[in-house]
């Protein structure tokens, strides 16, 4: 099993959700995060004082899937989240040792 993590532009979340649902994903977790990459930060001014904001708002998407589905899911995320501009984000895949479905106590791929 694999964990797919993607950091995407916030306004692309809906499209990513629809795309991964279409390829058969049954659940995913999202969180609001901030990060910096190649996108430059911006300046905010409060009462004449300037503050630099390097960290940009992003959405982190996490989902666990079977090994076979990984490539399709990555493909779906890339197609849905791409705007061809700096700051489109990144996705990465890591190995998952074990998965448990808490309600049923199912283990492994069964739990997905």
């Amino acid at each position: 099993m694999k964990l797919v993590t993607a950091v995407i532009k916030p306004f692309k979340l809906d499209e990513v959700k629809v795309a991964v649902k279409e390829v058969g994903v049954t659940g995913m977790t999202v969180s609001q995060v901030r990060g910096f990459g190649h996108t430059g930060g911006h300046i905010e001014i409060y009462r004449g004082k300037e503050y630099e904001f390097d960290f940009v708002d992003k959405i982190r998407v996490e989902l666990v899937c079977t090994d076979e589905l990984v490539d399709t899911i990555i493909e779906a995320i890339v197609n849905a989240a791409r705007t061809d501009t700096v700051g489109d984000g990144m996705a990465w895949v890591s190995d998952v040792e074990h998965v448990v479905r808490i309600r049923t106590n199912e283990r492994g791929p069964e739990a997905l």
Binding site: I45, Y46, R47, K49
Partner: protein, 471 residues
């Protein structure tokens, strides 16, 4: 038997319209403090200081009212104590140290040196409450210079002492029929007694208390700009009572004062906005800048609201906003301003603006603007009451009187504030919280925070995880 048609539920000297307007005006001014300043300041300070700042506002308001009932009102607006020959300074700088204690001191007709021309048309309770809300907002304004490090206990002592030592004297001198009032200096609703004084007190107080932590000065993120909008809006419209209430009669001059106040404020807001857009380093229109301009306009029109005409009001807004903008951006880099941590910049938006407005009375006041024009059986004065600036009278007399009163207000407020703060510093063993407490803010001082997050907290006395329903 009393005939129902002849029954009037109030004495003959009471005019229900005047009484109503005065109570409404007083309530509007009260709203400027609660919640106006509480949310304005709460929105301007860092998130960790919201509770502390708001509680100081509410506690300060309460303290002033208690002081006002027990001795403040009579010291500022009661019969003057004559410590020297009539006409001298000592015969007109303070009233008597006595409470508003008897039935008559609430329901009897208001009598005060605050108006020597025609009798008040309402009771002492109305006047005392109206004057209270002005007294109360003054320490709350200079609180803006002290937030983010002042000990809470020290604040509870500073307010009653400062009201007694500084406010009551300044109010008696300019409004209570005291020395400067007799000399001819005027202050329509508090450009000097309230705003210039609050600006000076904020500056002197901040110097004595010492600066915030450097981390808090560098990262002075405002917590909530929407709350700043709420507070600023309440201030602006609340000012209709502030200036509209100060003729003490619901007459034509009250209406003129309201209109002038609003136009001066609109012009001042736009002036600051345009200066920010074209002359600031960042060349951006900023909301907090516009709010500064708005406050400058409100403050600067306050000493002259019902004595200038509409064009005069526009000039007041334009001139005051420009001067304070320059002070805020450039004078602030010069000593002593660069050395004192006046957290929210009260010396600029209230001190400089109040001084500018007070002096402009001597230049722009239009003698055609009549504050009291009633000549009836009760009329006590020698003519209609109005004020003439050099622009109309070609005489610098009024300007000179305004200047002398300003020198007094600045000097006496600075000295009186210093005495009060050093006394409280001695009593509280310091005025500034320790750096460890300041690093945490609200949680360390009050064990409260502005936005508690229930997800991460659990009741200590009955922990949720042990609740029977959870087992």
């Amino acid at each position: 038997m009393l005939a129902a048609t002849n029954y009037i539920p109030y004495p003959h000297w009471l005019n229900p319209a005047d009484n109503t307007w005065q109570l409404v005006a007083a309530t509007l001014v009260g709203l400027m403090s609660l919640p106006g300043l509480a949310v304005l300041y709460g929105g301007l300070v860092r998130k960790k200081w919201i509770v502390n700042t708001m509680l100081m506002v509410f506690a300060g308001f309460s303290l002033t009212l208690v002081v006002w009932m027990l001795w403040g009102y009579n010291m500022a607006f009661g019969t003057l104590s004559h410590f020297g020959p009539t006409g001298s300074f000592w015969s007109g700088f303070i009233g008597h140290f006595e409470p508003l204690a008897r039935a008559g001191s609430e329901q009897g007709q208001a009598v005060s040196g605050a108006n020597s021309l025609i009798p008040f048309h309402y009771s002492t309770a109305t006047l005392a409450y109206f004057q209270f809300v002005f007294a109360a907002i003054t320490p709350l304004l200079f609180l803006g210079g002290l937030v983010g490090r002042l000990k809470f206990k020290a604040w509870l002592l500073i307010v009653p002492l400062w009201i007694t030592v500084v406010y009551c004297v300044n109010a008696a001198l300019l409004w209570g029929g005291g020395f400067f009032a007799q000399k001819g200096a005027v202050d329509y609703s508090g450009g000097y007694v309230i705003h210039l004084s609050a600006g000076v007190a904020a500056f002197v107080g901040a110097a004595i208390v010492g600066p915030r932590r450097w981390q808090d000065r560098e990262n002075a993120f405002p917590s909530n700009l929407m709350m700043v909008a709420v507070g600023a809006g309440i201030l602006w419209l609340g000012w209709n009572g502030f200036n509209g209430g100060d003729p003490f009669y619901a007459g034509a001059d009250a209406a003129a004062a309201v209109l002038n106040t609003n136009v001066a404020t609109a012009v001042a807001l736009l002036t600051w906005l345009l200066l920010d857009m074209y002359f600031s380093r960042q060349k951006k229109p900023t909301f907090l800048g516009a709010i500064n301009g708005m406050i400058c306009g409100l403050v600067a029109i306050t000493p002259s609201a019902g004595w200038v005409n509409g064009v005069g009001a526009i000039f007041v807004g334009l001139i005051a906003s420009t001067i304070v903008w320059i002070a805020w951006n450039y004078v602030s880099r010069l000593r002593p301003f660069s050395k004192v941590d006046d957290a929210l910049g009260v010396i600029y938006t209230h001190g400089f603006a109040g001084l500018t407005g007070g002096l402009l009375v001597g230049i722009l006041a239009d003698p055609g603007m009549t504050e009291y024009g009633v000549k009836g059986a009760n009329y006590k004065g020698s003519g209609n009451f109005s004020v003439g600036g050099v622009f109309f009278t070609h005489s610098w007399h009024q300007f000179w009187e305004q200047f002398l009163a300003a020198v007094w207000i600045i000097g006496y407020t600075a000295a009186g504030t210093a005495v009060v703060f050093y006394v409280v510093k001695f009593l509280c063993r310091g005025l500034r919280e320790s750096d460890e407490v300041l690093a945490l803010g609200d949680v360390a001082i009050h064990e409260e925070e502005a936005f508690p997050e229930p997800t991460f907290g659990e009741p200590v006395a009955s922990p949720s995880h042990l609740h029977p329903d959870n087992v």
